[in-house]
């Protein structure tokens, strides 16, 4: 039973355009949502997060949107760069450092020059 779902295993985008990565969740107790980026043979790197009291958080080229009623979040990357090519994981948890983070299966983003 996947509580966090990333339904697109891959996404290909042209350099300079917007990349939109999507994530759905089922557990309404989730209070905190994160996006991680992972290159091959490396650990996931924290990218951006959002708490359930917000609907948008922006950090440079990266913006995360949260739609709690739809239990959906998305990561927007504008403009996309070839160095953004990686696997992006969505994660969700109850908040606090001692709660479980539940990860999605990841979406592989390829940004073509």
């Amino acid at each position: 039973d996947q509580q966090v779902k990333q339904n697109s295993p891959s996404l290909s985008v042209q350099e300079g355009r917007i990349s939109i990565l999507n994530c759905d969740y089922t557990n309404s107790m989730f209070d905190y949502f994160l996006w991680y980026k992972k290159y091959p043979a490396e650990g996931p790197t924290f990218l951006i997060s959002i708490s359930s009291i917000k609907d948008k958080n922006e950090d440079g080229r990266f913006t995360v949107f949260l739609n709690k009623s739809a239990k959906h979040l998305s990561l927007h990357i504008v403009p996309s760069q070839p160095g953004d090519s990686a696997v992006y994981f969505c994660a969700a948890g109850p908040g606090g450092s001692q709660g479980n983070l539940i990860f999605g299966k990841g979406t592989k983003l390829s940004v073509k020059p």
Binding site: G43, P44, T45, G96, S97
Partner: protein, 111 residues
Amino acid sequence: DTAVSQTPKYLVTQMGNDKSIKCEQNLGHDTMYWYKQDSKKFLKIMFSYNNKELIINETVPNRFSPKSPDKAHLNLHINSLELGDSAVYFCASSPGDPTQYFGPGTRLTVL
């Protein structure tokens, strides 16, 4: 200056052996975790320690035993290795909010 480090990066061993993976963080975080990424690429939490005390123990065989000598270290010891234990194991730490910082991973291959 690595924040969360793991050794070894690769580990190849025979079924039935006992092995350990070490994790150290120099971030001063109180909470550390072990995750397993299986062949289907799911990242699943195995254990969570807060200040050397076990907080979360997901359904993990008791052949897996985490050991935390101090709050900067969380080692993973695996007894009687099985083929299904082959995976990438990630250590992570957290500063007291939900954000977790991951190590580079240890790829374990059991032959």
